[in-house]
């Protein structure tokens, strides 16, 4: 029973840590499936975290905060879409520009909100149920952003594989030329995919600042946006694998924190590399086993081949 409790607690901690990543991962999967890689998600996440916190602090409504976070990051992804699709800039350079821009803008506009107090989502009173060891932990963990993330995960998978628009989006990413000859409005699809990616990463940032941490500080995402970009590859551009990939990272991170409290005599610095090492191992294992390109959209692979 006690072991079951510990395993559940670690799993749920992992789910909590994985949730912001899941949003970003889903958004980046959609964008990359349309043949565009966006390295700017870290900056978009930061702008989402900042705007989400600011609006929650001003209005007291965390739902408005989530909407504001998604909106702010969508605006930033407009910059990325403009640079890539209108100016014709290199998508990686444009992504880095968006990353730096989002970090700087959020740090600047976020200054008045540092040290403000928000309540986030106030958990409902579960009464006696909340006191139960396993169920209580479960109920405490399933906050609105966790549930929303799971719902969006299912919705994204369904959209990409079960709808006509999803099929068009994937066709654009595999071969924009063929899609165009089939009458797909390639640029429009790419625009929408980039904007959707922005909205998702903004939601991820807002989930972090409004729900999980309930605090805003500049550069608070600490590289988690980039981790999500890496996890897209671990999940092999498959939205259904986005949840397992995010969970893998989250659970190993939760486990390493837990191991510190057990007094495991391993350096905390070494422990904190474990989530990355495990994801890397899964990535290598997946590629060796599949002996394929790993599911990278063909046009995106071209972009890598083209880089000097």
């Amino acid at each position: 029973m006690e072991i079951l409790e510990i395993v559940l607690a670690i799993f749920l901690s992992g789910l909590r840590a994985a949730t912001p990543l899941l949003y970003v991962l889903l958004g980046e999967t959609v964008t990359e499936r349309a043949g565009i890689a966006n390295l700017g998600v870290e900056g978009q996440m930061l702008s989402g975290a900042c705007a989400g916190f600011a609006v929650t602090a001003v209005t007291g409504n965390p739902w408005l905060g989530l909407v504001a976070g998604a909106f702010a990051a969508t605006l930033l992804s407009c910059v990325h879409a403009f640079l890539c699709l209108v100016v014709g800039a290199n998508m990686f350079a444009a992504g880095v520009a968006v990353w730096v821009l989002g970090g700087g803008l959020s740090a600047f506009f976020g200054i008045p909100f540092v040290g403000k107090r928000i309540d986030g989502f106030i958990p409902p009173d579960f009464g006696a149920l909340g006191q139960l060891p396993l169920l209580g932990t479960l109920l405490r963990t399933l906050t609105p952003t966790v549930l929303l993330g799971l719902a969006l995960w299912a919705a994204t998978g369904w959209f990409l594989y079960r709808t006509r628009s999803g099929l068009r989006l994937r066709a654009v990413g595999e071969s924009a030329d063929s899609a165009a000859t089939m009458g797909v409005a390639v640029k429009r699809v790419k625009w929408l995919a980039i904007l959707a990616g922005g909205a998702f990463s903004g939601l991820g940032g807002a989930a972090l600042s409004v729900d999980q941490v309930r605090n805003w500080i500049e550069w608070m995402t600490a590289g988690r946006g980039l981790v999500a970009v890496g996890l897209v590859i671990v999940a092999r551009w498959n939205p259904w694998l986005a949840l397992p990939a995010a969970l893998l990272f989250g659970v190993v991170e939760a486990l390493t924190l837990r191991m510190q409290t057990w007094g495991v005599p391993i350096s905390s610095y070494l422990l904190s590399t474990f989530p990355y090492l495990v994801c890397l191992a899964v990535l290598v294992w997946g590629y060796v086993r599949a002996r394929t390109r790993g599911g990278m959209p063909r046009d995106l692979a071209q972009a890598f081949a083209r880089t000097e």
């Binding site: 909590r16 800039a89 520009a97 999980q212 600490a222 924190l257 510190q260 905390s268």
Partner: protein, 355 residues
């Protein structure tokens, strides 16, 4: 390639518009530089409280810059301050030491007071205070408040300064609650709120009911503790407003008297380039206010230990045992300052890695 350069240039240009601007009037004389936001209820907030006191009590004008990284950027900020006629600069972050020494060498007429550094120049001195006695007193309050006897410490890096705080806090708790244990979680960063929240939840999951910390800002941990219905002891500054139900107390800086002393000594030309250090008896560190959870019975005990420290009692006196139970300091001995400043052990009752 040109497109890539243009793209990056656009971003840099837009960012440049966001940099803080010098709007210092000509009579301004004292400048402060912070590594983070001054509203963090942490290290930078405490420094800024000192700045405001200097302005109010001494009637001098001050300027401040927040979020300045510890690289060439801070040198540029100092140069701009000096160009605006500022003659006294407080670079308040540890990593500003070498940049400040560079700028100090170029401007012998400007005085620099660096926080916590260990190097001097003819026009650069340093200031800091020992906070471990206050950590001990906070630990006493925590030890008396805990129901489970399990305390948790969330800290950034295992360096002597954090080990001193963890050990002092634990010894204080054990002085009123001999069975109290302390579990340490390292986050590997002075500011990573996500990891701090996760660490706080992990400790709460395991029955820890009083948390304390050594990271830049206490807000995330205080809020998470409050949400989980457990107690919290703060660090750097009074953050009781973030945990009104579970607030215990905390160790806080009180830079105002020290900064005022420094500025006055520069004005009356008695200033010397030295390492200024102070502690509880100097009033440079203080306890934060008590929260509602602290039992009344422990408060007179805390007061008497505080009095003892103010009249010369030594915190780091034996017997002190390390985690394995080996004697680090025999009864009757006291740790010399050099040993305290290079502390490399955790006391008995602490669960946590030294690396």
């Amino acid at each position: 390639m040109i497109r890539q350069i243009l793209t990056l240039a656009t971003a840099t240009f837009l960012l440049a518009g966001c940099q803080p601007k010098v709007e210092a009037p000509a009579e301004t004389r004292v400048g402060f530089i912070y590594v983070g936001p001054r509203t963090d209820f942490g290290y930078n907030y405490a420094m800024d409280q000192g700045r405001m006191a200097v302005e109010k009590d001494l009637g001098v004008k001050t300027v401040f810059f927040e979020n300045i990284p510890e690289n060439a950027e801070v040198e540029r900020v100092m140069e701009r301050m000096i160009a605006d006629g500022i003659k006294i600069i407080f670079p308040t972050s540890y990593g500003y030491l070498d940049p400040a020494l560079n700028v100090a060498a170029k401007h012998p007429d400007v005085k620099f007071m660096h926080a916590g550094g260990f190097k001097l120049a003819p026009n650069l001195g340093t200031f800091f205070a020992d906070i471990d006695e206050v950590e001990y007193l906070s630990g006493m309050a925590a030890g008396a408040s805990t129901k489970t006897g399990k305390l948790g410490f969330i800290a950034a890096h295992p360096i002597p300064q954090t080990l001193r705080n963890i050990n002092a806090f634990t010894l204080g708790a054990q002085s009123v609650n001999p069975k109290a244990t302390m579990t340490v979680v390292w986050t590997g960063s002075w500011s990573d709120p996500t990891k701090e929240a996760e660490a706080a939840n992990t400790l709460a999951d395991q029955g820890v009911d009083v948390l304390t910390m050594h990271v830049d800002g206490p807000i995330t941990i205080a809020q998470t503790a409050e949400k989980r219905g457990i107690m919290v002891c703060g660090y750097h500054a009074d953050a009781s407003s973030f945990a009104p139900k579970g607030w215990v107390t905390g160790a806080a800086w009180n830079w105002a008297p020290l900064m005022e002393k420094i500025v006055k000594s520069i004005h009356d030309t008695t200033w010397k380039s030295v390492h200024l250090r102070g502690k509880l008896s100097d009033g440079y560190v203080k306890m934060a206010s008590y929260g509602p959870v602290v039992p009344e019975s422990v408060k007179p005990k805390i007061d008497s230990v505080k009095k003892a420290y103010e009249t010369g009692a030594k915190l780091w006196s034996g017997p002190i045992l390390d985690q394995a139970g080996t004697i680090v300091l025999a009864a009757g001995d006291t740790l010399p300052m050099a040993k305290i400043e290079s502390m490399n052990f955790l006391v008995k009752g602490v669960v946590g890695s030294l690396k």
